[in-house]
């Protein structure tokens, strides 16, 4: 039993820290820290910086340009990035499509697409969810009908994160309506500028626009854009859903959120004392700290097992649930810490002499509401409980 990192791992961590200190642009980190929406350019600059160092596609094998890191090294990298307020790496090309192509794609597809992902030539988005097919993905209805050497795609996708920036979408479509739902699905790559593709913004609860509806009307997609066999899309979808995700617990984000709330509670004075000296607030915060400390160990235990066995284990569903619960609790504390000063609408949160909240906290209420999505998307916490019931409890 050894909780500490090895000397090599500590050296690696220091290297990551030094890199972040030197290379992460302060303007970008500031926006991340303040919880602002990032412009497309921020993501592209950060991807380019990581790619220059060879640290962009951290889960790709070396042969495709990955850094060849262990599970623990990836974890360290992700934690440090979160603590430094780096933007998250946009996952659609790097974390999702990349591994899919490497496993199911043709050599031509890999050669053509993977380098463009690394170089930021294409921004990818994901076309999974549909209205009426949220947690129940297999019931999707967007259909692709083969006509000669093209598919004709009609239907609608929704919750397409950052789709407004995307050049291409990987997409689940129904290619055979006459078999059971899971059997008739294919995995297709679609150009976002193809005629008949329309992207419409979805404004979220706090006014932020980072997800979209995408409509397809008779969109022509060349058959060579099919990944894997026709009607084998469900296998690919499952691969992606159960694909090793070291960062599912989001401990880096929660660490950062905890530090920020603690600093706020130490500096903010409320009714004659520091907020941190209010036992009721301090009790909530201490409890969140304890839960977070426990989850960090749970996360490391799962990582250590994954490192040994190559299997992430079903416990990733537990980490998803607990990770979102803790992060949402910290978001709640951050909002609550401001009291009435959390009220101003994020878009016009007050600044300068008129400010009522410290600079990094003007979106606390907005972030609290926006992050309610954490327990809904990527397989809602209810779905995770169903998965755990079936697989682990054998009920």
């Amino acid at each position: 039993m050894e909780l500490q990192f090895t000397d090599e791992e500590i050296a690696f961590r220091d290297e990551v820290r030094a890199f972040l200190k030197a290379e992460l642009p302060e303007d970008i980190a500031g926006r991340v820290r303040r919880g602002e929406e990032l412009p497309k350019d921020d993501y592209e600059r950060w991807h380019a910086i990581l790619n220059a160092r060879g640290w962009l596609a951290t889960i790709w094998p070396k042969e495709y340009g990955g850094p060849g890191w262990s599970v623990v090294e990836r974890h360290i990298f992700e934690e440090e990035c979160a603590m430094a307020s780096a933007p998250r790496i946009v996952p659609f090309g790097i974390t999702m499509l990349g591994p899919v192509l490497q496993k199911f794609g043709s050599k031509e597809q890999c050669d053509a697409i993977l380098p463009r992902i690394l170089n930021g030539d294409d921004w990818w988005c994901q076309g999974y969810s549909e209205p009426g097919a949220g947690s129940d993905l297999a019931s999707l209805r967007t259909k692709a009908v083969r006509e000669g050497d093209h598919y004709i795609v009609n239907g609608q996708k929704t919750w397409t994160t950052l789709g407004q920036h995307a050049d291409r979408m990987f997409c689940l479509v129904r290619t055979d309506p006459n078999v059971k739902p899971q059997a008739g699905i294919s995995f297709l790559l679609i150009d976002m500028d193809a005629p008949g593709v329309e992207v419409r913004p979805i404004k979220l609860i706090d006014g932020v626009h980072d997800v979209n509806d995408v409509f397809f009307t008779d969109v022509k997609v060349p058959v060579e854009n099919l990944v894997g066999e026709e009607n084998s899309g469900w296998t690919i979808a499952k691969f992606l859903l159960t694909h090793e995700r070291t960062n599912i617990a989001g401990t880096g984000f929660s660490n950062q959120a905890f530090d920020t709330v603690r600093a706020l509670a130490r500096s903010r004075r409320v009714n004659g004392r520091r907020l941190i000296d209010d036992p009721l607030f301090a009790a909530r915060l201490a409890q969140a700290e304890i839960d977070l400390e426990a989850m960090k160990i749970t996360n490391l235990r799962m990582l250590a097992r994954a490192q040994k066995t190559g299997q992430p284990g079903l416990e990733s569903s537990m980490l998803k649930i607990k990770g979102t619960v803790i992060r949402q609790e910290l978001n709640d504390l951050a909002r609550r810490a401001l009291g009435p000063a959390a009220a101003p609408f994020p878009a016009e949160a007050l600044a300068g002499n008129d400010a009522i909240a410290p600079e990094d906290h003007r979106r606390n209420a907005g972030a609290y509401f926006n992050n309610r999505k954490l327990s809904i998307y990527g397989g809602s916490n209810e779905i995770q409980r169903n998965i755990l019931t079936k697989a682990m409890l054998e009920l």
Binding site: R269, A341, N370
Partner: protein
């Protein structure tokens, strides 16, 4: 023992309900609530004409109501419609003007809009840590200090301000033109303002206003509780509708037992919210008023957060979109907690009553 509303109050509720349903559909509401001045002067005038504000003051002061149950009747309907009009300032202001023996007519008729400015950046709740100061200035008074998150501030014509002269907490009136005001919209809609007083000319209404201010806070807290009940009732309707119509895995999601049991717990909490609000409304003006208002606001804060989070969760993705009406209700019921006293502050007040025998 009788929990039925009087005929008068039932009519008031119906009138207001119909008015809001007609004029404040969610699209109109959102347009009004999220753009300066974060309320509708037209609709405000119409609401005043309906006599809604008269229900908030007693007969001795030009009104037709003013009891705890008049207040809850009005605010439950405001909550149901998610109405962003600055009625809270009118309610608290009318109580303070009544306590001061001052004229209320212009307020009751809607031509004057009051905002009550008590809270400060480091004294968000209660009366014990205020720092804004009053000093004599010629015939009148001058106020210096900063009042923070003054609800209804952007549209107020007059501010009623709590300020200290020596150790004595008084009530002062400041015309909107006599202070620097930074107006802003709130995350759930509606407007508030920062009020900067720099030797701003003021009129003193009550030299020692502690009791009157606490009464106004109690009335305001009860109003917010009733508003939350209205919000919660409407959320419940939306949730049940969603559970009955949304299908996943070939079934309505309301057929899943885990969601059923969570929904039952929410509905039970709404009954608790209503009950504690009744308790506090009944106590308003009496010897137990402070503690019962704090009890109510605490329970509303806890249950409101649960209601908000669970309702969004069970709505799935749609629940966190701007387009879904439920998301605006979900914001309001949480943000009510921060107004006039949050769960922790109110719990501390209730704890004090336990500690002294």
């Amino acid at each position: 023992m009788d929990f039925d509303q009087t005929e008068d109050r039932r009519m008031l509720a119906e009138t207001l309900n119909r008015f809001l349903a007609d004029r404040y559909d969610i699209a109109t509401r959102n347009t009004v609530a999220y753009d300066a001045p974060w309320h509708s002067p037209d609709l405000w005038a119409q609401m005043a004409e309906l006599g809604i504000l008269h229900a908030l003051a007693d007969e001795d002061h030009g009104g037709m109501g003013g009891t705890g149950f008049d207040i809850t009747t009005v605010f439950e309907e405001l909550g149901r419609a998610l109405c962003p009009e600055p009625v809270l300032g009118a309610l608290m202001g009318l109580r303070l003007l009544s306590a001061a023996g001052a004229e209320t007519e212009a307020v009751l008729e809607g031509t004057e809009r009051l905002a009550v400015a008590i809270a400060e950046p480091e004294a968000p709740w209660g009366l014990d840590h205020l720092e804004t100061r009053a000093s004599k200035a010629g015939d009148g008074w001058a106020l210096t200090g900063r009042k923070s998150v003054v609800y209804g501030g952007p549209s107020a014509t007059r501010f009623l301000v709590a300020a200290l002269e020596g150790d004595m907490l008084g009530l002062y009136e400041v015309a909107a033109g006599d202070a620097r005001i930074t107006p802003y919209g709130m995350v759930e809609g509606g407007g508030a303002a920062e009020l900067f007083l720099d030797a701003s000319p003021a009129k003193r209404l009550i030299p020692d206003a502690r009791t009157a201010l606490q009464d106004a806070l109690n009335a305001g807290m009860i109003a917010l509780c009733a508003e939350a009940v209205g919000v919660a009732e409407r959320m419940k309707e939306m949730l049940l509708e969603h559970l009955k119509t949304r299908t996943q895995f070939g079934r309505t999601i309301g057929s899943f037992q885990a969601l059923q049991h969570r929904t039952v717990d929410l509905v039970t909490e709404i009954e608790q919210m209503r009950s504690i609000t009744i308790l506090a409304a009944d106590a308003l003006g009496g010897p137990e008023a402070d503690r019962k208002a704090a009890m109510a606001k605490n329970l509303i804060g806890r249950a409101g957060r649960l209601m908000s989070e669970e309702t969004m969760q069970m709505h799935g993705g749609i629940g966190v979109t701007w387009e879904a009406a439920v998301s605006h209700y979900a914001k309001r019921i949480v943000m009510i907690d921060a107004q006039l006293g949050d769960t922790d502050y109110c719990l501390s007040q209730v704890m004090e009553g336990l500690q002294v025998a």
